[in-house]
């Protein structure tokens, strides 16, 4: 009896070993370790304060569309996905300094950034103005923000666009916006919740998610639609990630993911725009 058990165990372990090696054989890492920050690992940075695209759930796990996308990319490259949660302002300096391989935080594409990094745009995102439920101040257009306190996360394009709106208002001779810059969106929305600010600026998906949670309304949406990208420093890695992304588009994984979150997908194949 005992002998039989041992034999069984032996068989199982062989099975496991063969199974593992078969998996390892089908999944061959194509990116050389020299192109990575950490051997066999795809280290990605994200700022998980943007539900439902990137956030931390009640068990402390990272969740959201971008997290799923990043894991799928790593899987297809036969790499172990690893996420670093960090404030947005640290993203680009961290990539330059070799702290992570890929910025996966919904970074907007622009020419200035594209000059510094390899960027693969994969989604089109626009900006919304969130207000308290019922829109008590009756905000319906950019001009209505004149003289209001508006919260935003530091360092993103949302902040830049808000400053642009402010500039336009000033040019028209209207009262400037009282721009309040916070470390992250969670705090910006908390300030709105407390009545410390009159509005918050965020991307459409986030603003829509906050509407779903029942506390806020979207006063304005669809402003300044812009391409959102994955950003990498290493050229070899960028090429392989591009291949993986195009595979995802071909086999339908990408379309399905974008549909799940109600996002605007790319229709033509992905390309690297920049660096």
């Amino acid at each position: 009896m005992k002998k039989f058990n041992l034999k069984l165990l032996y068989l199982i372990s062989i099975q496991l070993f063969v199974g593992y090696s078969v998996m390892a054989a089908t999944c061959k890492q194509t990116v050389p370790d020299s192109a990575l920050v950490k051997k066999g690992t795809l280290v990605m940075s994200t700022n998980p304060t943007l539900p439902p695209l990137q956030f931390v759930d009640s068990t402390g796990k990272l969740k959201g569309m971008r997290i799923t996308l990043g894991k799928e990319v790593a899987k297809r490259l036969c790499l172990k996905p690893e996420y670093i949660s960090i404030e947005f302002s640290a993203m680009i300096p961290g990539l330059q300094a070799g702290r992570w391989d890929l910025i996966n935080t919904g970074i907007f594409w622009n020419t200035k950034r594209a000059a510094m990094m390899n960027m693969i745009p994969y989604e089109s995102a626009a900006i919304s103005i969130s207000v308290k439920k019922g829109n008590p101040l009756g905000i319906s257009k950019q001009e209505d923000l004149a003289g209001k306190a508006v919260g935003v996360e530091i360092g993103g394009l949302e902040e830049k666009k808000l400053k642009e709106i402010d500039k336009n208002l000033r040019a028209k001779g209207l009262t400037p916006i009282n721009i309040r810059v916070f470390d992250n969106f969670a705090l910006a929305y908390q300030a709105l919740r407390a009545g410390q600010t009159d509005a918050s600026v965020a991307i459409d998906a986030t603003a829509a998610e906050y509407v779903k949670r029942g506390e806020f309304d979207r006063a304005i949406s669809g402003m300044f639609p812009m391409p959102v990208a994955l950003a990498m420093k290493n050229d070899i890695l960028a090429k392989t990630v591009l291949e993986a992304m195009n595979d995802m588009m071909e086999d339908g994984f990408y379309q399905e993911l974008m549909d799940e979150y109600g996002l605007l997908p790319n229709s033509s194949p992905f390309i690297i725009r920049g660096s």
Binding site: S89, I92, P93, Q96, M116, G151, I154, G155, E159, K160, R180, V181, F182, D183, L187, Q190, A191, R193, A194, G195, Q196
Partner: protein
């Protein structure tokens, strides 16, 4: 690997008006907080030493809460929690309130230490001269306690200069937040943080000199043979 450092960017930001404005905010935040903290700290220290049980318990509880919780949390509660109770303070008011309440707890303990450091013989002598409790405090205990308090107080001011940066969490535009905002412009991270560090160092150095003068002044009576 070459060092990536942009000297022209560094010099450009060294005398940047926006950064200077942030430094000025940091400076007045520190001064206002230390003054407010001193007044409140004195009060709390007196309560703590009061022979009335509930007064000293109140002071103990105050110190326990404000020294035992992070300033960051206190600031977020003051800024976004109090409005739900109908108390809506502006960013500047919230920052000042948080810093003063927090600093008062630390200073109260420093002041209490100073008062306890004055030998009881001094109190007896004062009493023998017929001084009442108030006179005793003002003429005998406080002048001697001040000498003991000042070195520790200097530490507090130095620390506070840098602690003010935490108020950026409620969108206060002090030196650190100004630095972070400027970084977005050209991504000169190291250059800008170095400039900010130099500003902080300059301010703490000036305070160091001032503190040495104050210490010398209060030690004068002890220098004579």
């Amino acid at each position: 690997m070459g060092i990536k450092w942009d000297w022209s960017g560094f010099y450009e930001y060294l005398f940047n008006g926006f950064l200077l404005q942030g430094a000025v905010t940091t400076l007045w935040l520190t001064i206002a907080s230390i003054l407010g903290g001193l007044v409140m700290g004195c009060l709390i220290a007196m309560l703590r030493l009061a022979p009335v049980y509930w007064l000293s318990s109140f002071a103990k509880g105050y110190i326990w809460i404000f020294r035992g919780t992070p300033l960051l949390v206190q600031l977020i509660i003051i800024y976004t929690g109090l409005p739900q109770l109908g108390i809506k303070l502006s960013v500047v008011e919230s920052a000042l309130t948080g810093l003063i309440l927090n600093e008062a707890a630390y200073l109260a303990e420093i002041i209490r230490g100073g008062i306890l450091g004055v030998s009881t013989g001094q109190t007896y002598a004062g009493r023998a001269l017929g001084l009442n409790s108030f006179q005793l405090m003002v003429y005998i205990v406080f002048p001697q306690a001040t000498r003991i308090i000042i070195p520790a107080l200097g530490n507090s001011v130095n620390g506070l200069l840098k602690t003010t940066s935490i108020t950026s969490v409620i969108s206060m535009e002090e030196l650190l937040r100004s630095t972070q905002l400027l970084i977005q412009e050209k991504f000169l991270v190291l250059e800008l943080f170095t400039v900010a560090a130099m500003y902080y160092l300059l301010m703490t150095s000036i305070w160091d000199m001032a503190q040495r003068r104050i210490e010398a002044k209060f030690s004068k009576p002890y220098n004579k043979v």
